[in-house]
Structure formats: C-alpha cells, structure tokens
Symmetry: D2
Subunit: 301 residues, 4 copies
C-alpha cells in the first residue's frame, strides 16, 4: 500500500516520539523533507534548523530485535535553490592551516532536476563556472535509538541518523536494527549532491520529495546499519576517530559475511583481505562515518 | 636514457645511503624488487624481511628543495607465487572482536600475469574458489627523508615510504619533495593486487619487474606526496589516526589547487566542497594513509 | 532548606523527564543512589542495570542559559559490598595484546567506611592481599542535555553524564550549563574508589548515601562542565579520541581564565604554558574524559 | 668512573652515529646540553636548532637485546635565560578556536637556580607577575633506534627521544631497550620547568649541566621506555592519538608487573584496576606521550 503523507511538524532528534503515521510491512510512504535549516519547497522556514526529520513512521510488525529494511525508491529535489558552506571545516585541515581558510558565507546552487545538474551560483571566486551532476541522497535518516534515548540529528550511531553518506541515493536498500515497538522511522536532510566526507559540513542542502518502502525482517540482523545496491553490500560504522568508525564497519562486515553469505570466519577474512573497499561517509559530524564494502560479484547468497 | 639495474643489496629503511646508480633527469630505470620478506623471482631469500628496497638511485639534477617526479611505467610480477596474511589485523576490528579473528598462517596465491589473475590457493575455507584481477602496484617507495633521518620501510611520512595505496599502479605519476642531494629514490614491496586499507597487513606480496622514469622539477612543489593519472589528481597524508592523515591530504590538495590550477582560496574550497573524493590507502602501517582526490574534469591548468 | 528524598524509580538516560522533586536555589538534597547494576544498600536489584540515576530534581530558578552549581557535600557508601571488572578493557591495551587479558568474572571488594578502606576479596591471584583507601565519588551525574535529547548514562557530553572522574569526591563544586527549565539534575553510579581512566570499565561500584547542594547562577558560564575544589579549578572535555577530549577541556579553560580571572588571551595562554595539569578521567566509556586543571595559587579572582 | 665530556658537535636525530665517548657499565658522564634551538650557556648558537643532542655515548657492555639504565643524577640550568612559546599549540584547542589564539613571539623567563625559581619576563599581558618553582628535566633523550634508523629529535618511539615528560627530573631512573652495539645514548632539550602536555610546544627551554650514570642489564627488559623514582614505577607509550600512547603504556605496565613483581596476568590486571595513575607527557610532538604509573606501596619485588 502507498501512503501519501504531508508533514505538519518535525523533530530535531531521533527518539521515542508519537508516530505521525502507522503503516504495515511492505507499505510505501510518499512524503517530503525540508532542508537542513528547516526550509520547505517554497523556501519558507517551517521549523527550526538542524536536519529536521519527517516522521516518525510506525511499522506495525516491527518489534525490538527485528530489522527494518528501508528501500529508497525515489529522492527528488522539489525546488531549485540549494546551498552549502563555502569553506572546508576547521577539523578537516591541518590545525596550523585553519587561519588560511576563507570565511565567506553560504555558497548557493541552482538545482535543475530536469537537466540533472547543480550550478554554483556564488560566491564569486577564481573557480568560475561549476556545473556538477545531481546525485540526490538523504543525509540523515534512521530509527529510534536504544534505551529510549533521543539523539540529536547532528550525529549518528547504531540507529542511523546523520551519516551523510553520498551513496544513500535512490535504489539503495538500508537495514537498521529495531529498538522501539514500530521501529519509528525518521528521514530528512536531503542533499542534491555531496562530496566524500561532507568536508564543508554540508552537501547541496535542499528540500525533497521522497518515496520509501518499509519492510520488516523478524530477526536481529545487524549491530550497525547495513546497505546494499545492485553492485555492493555495505556496512556503516559511526564514531570518532575514523579509525573507530572503520573498526565498527569492518567488524559488522565480517559478521554479515558469516551470517548471510555462507562463509566461516577464515573465509570472511580471506575475502576481505584483497577485495574490501571503503568509502568515507562523513568526517564532519560529531560521529564520523566509514563504509566497508564488498562487491556482489564475490558473493553467493 | 634507459638504465638496466640488477640489485645486489637492499635497504630496510629510506635514508641517506650511498647510491647504487646515478641517473639524469628524464632517465628511466628498469630493475627488480624482492617481495616484502626479501624473496626474489626464484623464491629465494636474498635479504632480510621488511619491505627491502632496491636503490637508492641518485638523480643528478635533484637538489634539496626540488621535486622528484616518478613515473610508474611498468610494474609486473616476475613469478607466480604470492602471499598475504589470512586474517584482518587486530587494529582494524572492534577491540572486543579480536578474539574472534582466525589465526591461520599465510594465504597463498597463484599469480598468472598472462591471464591477469590471482587465484587463492589456500588455506581452505568456506570461501572456496576466489580468482581476482591483477592490479600490480608498489607498496613502499619514496626518497630519503629530511634531517638526514633513516626511516623504516614499515612506515611512511612526507618522503613517501610504506603508503600501501592500491592506485599506485603503472600509469601513475608520483611527486615527492627532495630532501637530499640526488633525491635518493628507493622502491620495493610490490603487490599483485591489494584491497583498500591493506587491512590484513599485506597485499598479494610478490617480486616484480619494474620500470620507472625519473624527472626533476626545479622548485618546491609539495609538502606531502602528490600523484596523478589520466583521470585524477591526488594528495597523500600519512599519519595516525586516519583523521590526521585526512587533514594532511586535504590541506595539501587545497595548496595544490591554489598553486597550480589557478584557484584562489575560496575557489579551491568551493571546488572541494562537493567534488572531493577520498581513498583509504592503508589502515595497518604505523602511519595510516588517506588520499584526497579531484577529478581532472573539474580542472584547467 | 534540606530535602530528604527516597527514590522509587530510576532513569538510564539523562533527558527531559518529569522531575521527582522541586527544590529552590540553595537547597540541599539528601538521597541515595543504587550501584551501576541497579542494586541498592541491601544488595537487592530495584531497577535495570546501566548506571541508574536518581532524580531528576527540578531547581525552580534554573532556566536555559543559566549555570547549575552542584556542591558535592557528602558521598558515603551505604553497604559493604563493592565490585569491579577484573580485567583491563580491550580498548585500553595494544590490539595484539587483547588475547592475553584474563577473562575472569567480577572482582569483589569489602568496603569499610569506618576504616576508610576497601579490601579486595577475590578472585584469587598472585596479587594476594590488597587494601586501598576509600575516595568515594560519583561516576555519572549531570543535567538534561540540549535539544531535548535523552542521552544514555553510558556516555557523557556537555551536560555531564558518565564522566567517571575520580576527583568528583565530596568537597567538589561542579558547574553545568542549563538546557531545560529547572535544569533537571540527575545523579548515580557511585564508586568507593577508582583508578585513573576507569580502565577496567568500573570503579569499586557501590550504592551511596549522597548529599548535594544546588545553586543557580543566572548567566551562561560554561560550554563544558567545570569544577573546583580547595586547590584547583578544572574543566572537563568528553569525547573520543582523548585528543579531542583534551582540546575541549583546554579550550574551556582558556575561556574560563579570560571570563572570570581577569586574564586576556595572551595571559591565559602564558599561564597554561608551564602551569597546566591534566587528569585522565576515563578512557573506557563511549566518550572519554580529560580534565584540564590550574592550581588556585596562580589565580586572583 | 666519572667522565667529563665537553661536546663539540651535536645531532638532530638519534641514530647509529660514531660515538663521542666510550664508557663502561656503571660509569657516570658529566656533560652539558644546549637548548632546543642550539644555544649554549653563553647564549651563543653553536649548532642548528631542533633539540640538538649531546652524544652518542657508547657503553661497552651494551649489546642489542640488553637494557640500558640511565640514572638522571643531576640536571641544572647553566644560564639565566629561558624561553617558551606564548600560545597554546593549534592542535591542543578546538579547531574552531584556533583563530582566537594569540600570535605573540617567544615568552622569556629569568631562571634563578639559587632561588629555584623561574620568573616570566615577557611579553606583557594581564597575567602580570608569574614566578614558578624550577623542576629541571630533559625533554629529549634515548638510544639509537632499531633497524639502523635515524629518527628526528622532534619525535619519540620505543627508543625514547622527544618524550617531553616533566617527571624526568634528577633522581629518576629510565630504562631503554638496546638496539645497537654500545646502545649509543643521546641527551638534550633541557627544560627548567614544564607543564603537563607541553601544550605550547616547549617547556622553559634552557641549556643545562647534566650528570648521568649508565648501567647495562644483560637482558631484554622492555618494549617501551620504563622509569622509576622513589615513589613510582612508570611506563611510557609514544604514539598518536593519545589513545594509542595509552595502550602502549598500559600494555607495557601489565608486562612489567608480571615480569618483575611476581604477579600473574589476573593479579596485574586487578592491581591496575583501581590503583593505576596516568600522566600526560606531551600532546604536541609528532608522537604524543602518555605515562602509566603504579605507586611502589602496592608492589613487592
């Protein structure tokens, strides 16, 4: 079943809040997200800044210990105006280079969904014209965290949240552990495109039309978010420093390979040895995100 | 001019040692490297283990303050036997997962240069058959470090060394700062293929036939190793934790964009904002390696 | 005014929960805390494990933007049985040493408040008899966090929480930023004594009789918890890695020195140069804690 | 036997250099060190800056695999002029606070050995008068490193080097692993006093008169530097981030307790549980230094 949901309020944390809609295993939700600063498709601010979340959606079959599968069916900017910071974040450059960073205001982008491009409008610099392809994604989404915590949309953890991974585009399937009855799924913080690491602290921030399909697996699958697309299986670790995020993602991948792909411990280790790939999700948020990947050509389910 | 050089001794550190051959700016060197444990193309141990280096080569025009350009012309395994560790390194998994790592011996690979494949020979595991494409690369190469240091081939720094970055294949051009008269170029530690991060502590270790061309730029170009291939420009940061390696690589890229590609500070920052890419070189060696990349389509020189 | 409060329920997160008692600026609260696993003075489990918190207490004058001052008047174990883990945590030793850690159960301690000692009861080891002095402290306390988050008692942040700093003994005054109306003060996780870093993941865990006095300063004082005793002023940074915790604590101290002690930026930097001291709070919890200290002999208020 | 040695040249790395003097097990050396910038007791520059080292001293009985014991008999400033940086280093504060650091020149100190004080002479600030007690120490000393490396005096590792730990004062005994024949002992970088962490990048830098006694233990004792004074045994870990330095120091302490103090693994872990202490050596150099300590009251040899 497909639900059309128009949000009237938003959350700046993922937590055990009252659901806005109840759906069933396999249902789809068509909805909208506002941009990271709370502005909607008309560029009107409808809620305070900080990755405001649409939701939470209650999935009736989902109970603590289950796994929620989120299929990102469609993520489409619903306005032309996008923005990002214009300077690399202080924590991503050498400490003694911080004073050399420019201190300009926001950079603005013209996002053309039909042409599938974003064009840098300003500020003016020696860079001149820059037109890049769109790759619309969600920066922050996930489920209510464990222990009835309510965790800010600035950060991420086992429940997802602000992972800012640029491969979370339409066509990706994401797995989350369920901690609360109904899972309580949230989404927001759309980016028309994003670089690796989100090193300026933002993608091309924009409001979105989104369609997701929500499924429940009646088993505990994962300790950290997992994902897959046509080519790759992926595990995400969210922590600081990057070393620890990498440890979480790698450990989760070793577990997944043994759990679902018929490998023993030795086989899982041997496969990763020369076939593992990593993506840098973000190196800006309070928790950084590293992604461990294995190409599906090496796997038999 | 092309020099053919057969090594008779090797070094386990990069330092201000007596050169084995003197060449001129633009010359090429055809030589061989032994594997990480000191075994040559006949699988005979000819020197102690630890990434033994062929060289150093003295480039006559190179003086401290210059830049050495190393063109990796050809890197070709010269035997069939390759090996790697069979378990992910303890520092790459969650600390409380260490006890679940398998403790097997070496994994062995049959490397077939004509078929361009490596086949996992053993140990036996549930993984079964695994045949992967070759992507022969050098794990450890660089120049004599600053301050007349001699730095172990286990690690890396501004002078290069054990960066273990799997994109250092034939067709790549690498830039090093020159610290010693003649630069003193070393090379070794060939891998028939390698995963991101070198997370088992080794690629498919093997001896190699190598051809490099060495050029001198009479100017200080870089503070950290830089590289380019047909598609990308790249900067490398070598440090722990990964966060700091990322800071070095990103800062170096901001400098390069402003130095050579006509950008001001604001333009360099705006370009990286949504176009930057990162590769994880290694997360095993004493210094980890992160690579910051920009696609050449965004650059006008 | 002194309030006597007997808790009937506990929280495993610090968040915007309904207060259990309303007090006024300057009032004292005499109450009890259960141990980290939810056992009370009779060694009966009265609530689930995980640093259960007594509270929250609503301080009537406290509004967001104010500062809450918590005076630790008295912290006194109210039973004899204490316990801790018997092995250093995996994340505190070299990754390749993890397999050499002992895997014993809990260590048990006999806590004698009159003698002011804790005696190691078991498990048996070559260490034999060990009797150490008590230094009763609170491991986890603080206020409701910003953005209406509810943050697990496993970790810590700007609002305090599980800082596990062994100098939080009676006679210490601790300052927290106020984020919620009434501040909402929580306390728990008493330790009869604790080593630096809480490297086994626990102090000598025990239930406590506690008396605190709560005061409100009608101004924003701090970004991170601050503290003082007769000799020292202290700032706490809670983060991973320790480097970042140290950055937070040091920055907060530079701010405090300029805010309250008549120093300019240069003077604050010059004072820290050779007079700064650091304590390692904890290197076990999700956020580590470093403490930056300056002796009061160097300060004129 | 006591040797009086007047240096005529200095080294900016610890490496396998020609010794300046050969001594025997148990001999003492009375010598001088220049300050971190190469200035001697007359404030004349006699060698380039960068922690120039006096030595190396060859200890005849020392062979690779042995342990060198360095007794710091006397460390005494031999001039009145000391200096330090006047601003906390960029890497020790929050990245977004870097721009608020003062950018003054050197701070100067008047060092009075008879009065046992250092007085801040300038630059002028709101701090006004500051007079602190002397605690003269060596910032950089150690032995030639393994694998015939020559490692810059900017950093530290298993062989010692630039550890910048303020408890390395007279009366301390320091243990180093021996890697080269004769051990090759170096010393320099005296500080009249130093704060924890050396957070401005320098102690009160000054030239020194030094007396050390050198002893050889014919056994491999340690993997990292160890030390003791009347009250404490100490192990040092040198690495980044601080987390890893802490891991090295803690692991080395667990080993020492089992090796020399009659403890089994469980006993060593139980002792550290509540009795361990840590000092922050430095958080400025390329390798940070953490110190793990146990009070001798808990030990029976």
């Amino acid at each position: 079943m497909e639900h059309h949901f128009t949000p009237s309020h938003y959350f700046n944390a993922l937590g055990p809040y009252d659901p806005v809609l109840s759906v069933r295993d396999g249902d789809s939700v068509v909805t909208t997200t506002v941009d990271a600063r709370g502005f909607d498709h008309r560029r009107e601010q409808v809620t305070p800044r900080g990755n405001p979340q649409t939701g939470p959606f209650f999935i009736e079959e989902a109970e603590p210990g289950d796994t929620l599968v989120v299929e990102l069916d469609s993520i489409r900017p619903n306005r032309r105006y996008g923005f990002c910071e214009s300077s690399v974040a202080e924590n991503v450059v050498d400490p003694d280079y911080v004073r050399e960073l420019p201190q300009a205001g926001l950079a603005e982008w013209d996002v053309d969904v039909d042409a599938n491009t974003a064009r840098l409008v300003g500020p003016a610099s020696a860079l001149g014209e820059l037109v890049i392809p769109l790759a619309p994604m969600l920066g922050c989404f996930g489920v209510a965290p464990p222990r009835r915590q309510a965790i800010s949309t600035a950060t991420s953890a086992e429940h997802g949240g602000n992972m800012d991974y640029r491969r979370f585009v339409a066509g990706t399937k994401v797995y989350f552990p369920v901690f609360e009855p109904g899972a309580l799924f949230f989404l927001g913080d759309g980016h028309a495109a994003q670089g690796d690491g989100e090193i300026v602290g933002s993608g091309i921030e924009i409001s979105m039309d989104v369609r997701v399909t929500l499924r429940v697996l009646k088993q505990k699958l994962c300790g950290w978010p997992r994902a897959e697309n046509d080519e790759w299986i992926m595990t995400l670790g969210n922590a600081r420093p990057l070393d620890q995020a990498t440890q979480h993602a790698t450990t989760e991948m070793l577990r997944w390979l043994q759990q679902d792909f018929g490998l023993d411990a030795l086989g899982a280790n041997l496969l990763l040895a020369q076939c593992v790939r990593y993506d840098l999700g973000n190196i800006f948020d309070p928790a950084y995100t590293m992604v461990c990947k294995v190409h599906k050509q090496w796997l038999a389910r």
